[in-house]
């Protein structure tokens, strides 16, 4: 390996730092092709091999700036992991199995029991939780296959979740803040994924 090849290697290492394996492969191939074209063009203009290599490397610009740019548009390793790990959840959610409906049904029965016993606040909390769960389990049957419909569904889901979290953590602001920040983190990763992936490549759970 020549000095310039190892310098290009160092540039690529910095520019692809933190990206997912697929993103790294794509960037490496494209930049190497670009570098090769730039070297060939310089050699054709009569430059020496050393000058051509130096000019091609300089034309790539600052590797750290490129890394920042790439992170904005390509999947990072943590986002790729999030997508992989969320796939089991999406399979469960989008399986169109009717068994999960037993949970909200059982919850509804329990809510009725609590209401009859006079434990109204617990019954309300349970009713709200189960109504949201039923909506979540019903999502595979709902016609949510455009980004706009996904936004509407998410608005409803987040309204339910925030109301549930507020009720469950009544009088405990730290608990409300912790649960809310977890929700905010999950949604921020999903926003980034929605921005980076073409709509045609969105898994079902990104709509929800």
């Amino acid at each position: 390996m020549t000095t310039f090849n190892s310098t290009l290697e160092a540039w690529l290492k910095l520019a692809t730092c933190g990206l997912s394996a697929n993103s790294i492969a794509r960037v490496r191939t494209e930049i190497q092709q670009h570098y090769e074209s730039a070297v060939q063009a310089s050699l054709a203009r009569g430059a020496t091999s050393e000058v051509a290599d130096r000019a091609a490397l300089a034309s790539l610009g600052d590797a750290r700036t490129s890394n920042q740019q790439y992170r904005k548009v390509l999947l990072t390793s943590s986002e790729a992991r999030f997508l992989r790990e969320a796939s089991w959840e999406s399979r469960a959610l989008c399986s169109r199995s009717k068994w999960p409906f037993l949970i909200p049904a059982a919850g509804l029965c329990a809510a009725v029991v609590f209401f009859v016993r006079g434990e109204h606040s617990l019954a309300e909390l349970l009713l709200l939780g189960m109504a949201g769960l039923a909506l979540l389990f019903a999502s595979p049957w709902l016609p949510i296959y455009t980004p706009a419909r996904g936004r509407v569904f998410r608005c409803v889901r987040y309204t339910w979740l925030i109301a549930l979290v507020a009720l469950a953590s009544e009088g405990q602001p730290w608990m409300f803040a912790t649960l809310l920040s977890t929700l905010a983190w999950i949604e921020s990763v999903q926003i980034s994924l929605r921005r980076k992936l073409p709509v045609a490549d969105w898994p079902k759970h990104l709509y929800l």
């Binding site: 191939t29 092709q33 670009h34 090769e36 730039a38 034309s59 600052d62 700036t65 740019q69």
Partner: protein, 103 residues
């Protein structure tokens, strides 16, 4: 001069002429602007990837002189976006000229 934000439009314009690969797009922009617009490749490719994920360009594997190259071509949505950007640029350019005067 701050020309941030113009790169995607320039890429779309370049691809409207013909499908091309990254190096050729960069060289085309540099030559047509007589060397004034010399975007670093490290910013060109992220812009191309963003245009691709927005559905404004699409990429495919091609070859140049027997060497594999990733080519990009403008999509129907890309043509629409370019027409909109051109109209906006003309409007802004006219407005700035009114203030700064003609060169």
């Amino acid at each position: 001069m701050n020309l941030r934000g113009t790169l995607p439009t320039l890429i779309l314009e370049s691809l409207e002429q013909e499908p091309n690969h990254g190096y050729s797009i960069a060289q085309g922009i540099k030559q047509r602007s007589r060397g004034v617009l010399d975007f670093k490749e490290g910013t060109l490719y992220p812009a191309l990837h963003k245009l691709e994920s927005d559905g404004l360009v699409e990429s495919y594997e091609g070859a140049e002189n027997g060497r594999p190259r990733r080519y990009y071509r403008i999509t129907k949505d890309g043509h629409g976006m370019l027409a909109k950007d051109r109209a906006e640029w003309r409007q802004v350019s006219r407005a700035v000229t009114l203030i700064l005067g003609k060169a």
